[in-house]
């Protein structure tokens, strides 16, 4: 008796179950809502040119008197802080809610309409992380407000004049470090040992891969 003359009912059943599992797999698969659009190297290159990154406080003048309608301000602080005071016309999206579907769709719309999105928080640092994240997932219209809300609050009446102020600009040396750190007293010499020591590291452990074979 040849096996091909028997009815493979059970085999068919098992294979159909397999097909159902595959169909379930397709149905339950969630496409990730966003993914990296810049690789790490591109992200590093992005940091080199600051003109595309920064939004200066004096640029707010045009936004506030509605001359520049291409800018959307987004307040990343929590709702309470927003309620106590914010830059006029700003939209409140607390930073933890940024990737909610609704907000992501909103940001996508802004990008499609060619609007510049300016993120701000109390200081530059708090808005800088979300800004960098959005740049990496492909929102090239997002900028960060230098100085943050605190600086704005201090200078909101003379924003245009801040063009000549650099106290809010980060990443520059405010001191002559080497000079300041030298003792006035020459009896001791210090900072002799700030040359790096050779550091030897163990290699990082590789990711776990199942062992196997016979």
């Amino acid at each position: 008796m040849n096996v091909h003359e028997l009815n493979p009912k059970k085999t068919l059943g098992v294979l159909i179950v397999l097909v159902i599992v595959v169909i379930i797999g397709f149905l339950t698969m969630k496409p990730s809502p966003y993914d990296y659009k810049l690789n790490v190297n591109q992200s590093i290159q992005l940091l080199k040119d600051t003109s595309e990154i920064n939004f200066y406080p004096y640029e707010l003048v045009d936004v506030l008197n509605h001359k520049n309608k291409n800018v959307v301000l987004i307040d990343l602080r929590n709702k309470y802080a927003f309620g106590r005071g914010h830059i006029p016309g700003a939209l409140s999206i607390p930073s933890f809610d940024l990737t909610h579907k609704k907000n992501l769709r909103l940001l996508k719309d802004y990008k499609k309409n060619g609007l510049t999105v300016v993120l701000y928080s109390n200081n530059q640092l708090s808005a800088d992380g979300p800004w960098f994240f959005f740049r990496q997932i492909g929102f090239n219209n997002v900028r960060v407000l230098l100085g943050g809300y605190n600086y704005f609050l201090k200078h909101k009446n003379n924003l245009a004049a801040t063009r000549f102020d650099n106290s809010y600009i980060k990443g520059i040396e405010r001191f002559n470090y080497a000079k300041v750190s030298k003792s006035s007293d020459k009896s001791f010499e210090v900072n002799q040992n700030n040359k790096p020591k050779p550091v030897i590291f163990k290699r990082r452990k590789r990711e776990a891969v199942a062992a196997g074979g016979c």
């Binding site: 096996v3 091909h4 698969m29 891969v209 199942a210 074979g213």
Partner: protein, 200 residues
């Protein structure tokens, strides 16, 4: 998500228990498919019984296709699974020796173990032979070491070697296997007409 053990969903102690169950399923399927009979195994090479080809190729294509789907759905991280390393010269030699051993002995290790459980002495002798063979290899290892470790390609897949994606390979194997099923069925029919005394 998977492999569950590597990603910390299951402790490695449970893993050993699961190994027993997986082995049980494996042993059960080998035995119940007829692999515990050396005549069934050897039959494939004389054209009167293709059960080995059928079980083997079906398992391979189901696992291949299933693996790709599981990787696609994100159920298993394909970069974490074990892929047999490739040492072509020693593997080809080993496979040739295994092929001869299979014809002479009528078993392969897994099938001999299941055959022992149903009381076959020849399977037990085959398993003892396995043990001796591995012992010989271990003793002769100093002479074989260079050959054993030559041409190490590492854990490469077909896609790494050929540049054709794994999806195409799965399709190629599936078509090949399905074709072989239909062809062997007709061969079997013809050969069995000739061998009248063997009842199937």
């Amino acid at each position: 998500m998977g492999p569950l053990v590597l990603n910390g969903f299951i402790s490695s102690n449970w893993n050993l228990l699961i190994a027993v169950f997986i082995g049980m399923a494996f042993g059960f399927l080998l035995e119940s498919s007829g692999f515990s009979s050396s005549r069934n195994i050897a039959g494939v090479f004389y054209g009167y019984n293709f059960v080995v080809i059928r079980v083997f190729f079906t398992a391979v294509i189901v696992a291949m296709v299933g693996l790709l789907y599981m990787g696609y759905f994100g159920w298993v991280n394909l970069s974490q699974i074990f892929i047999l390393p490739t040492f072509l010269p020693s593997m080809i030699t080993g496979a040739v020796i295994m092929g001869v051993g299979m014809i002479i002995g009528g078993f392969c290790p897994g099938t001999s173990f299941t055959a022992i459980t149903i009381g076959k002495i020849d399977a037990l002798v085959f398993a003892i032979g396995l043990y001796i063979g591995i012992f010989f290899f271990a003793e002769g290892y100093p002479f074989l070491e260079k050959f054993y470790l030559s041409a190490n390609l590492g854990h490469v897949t077909l896609a790494d070697v050929t540049g054709i994606s794994l999806g195409w390979w799965a399709l190629i194997f599936t078509v090949f296997a399905l074709a072989s099923f239909w062809i062997t069925a007709s061969i079997e029919k013809k050969v069995r007409k000739r061998i009248k005394d063997y009842k199937f």
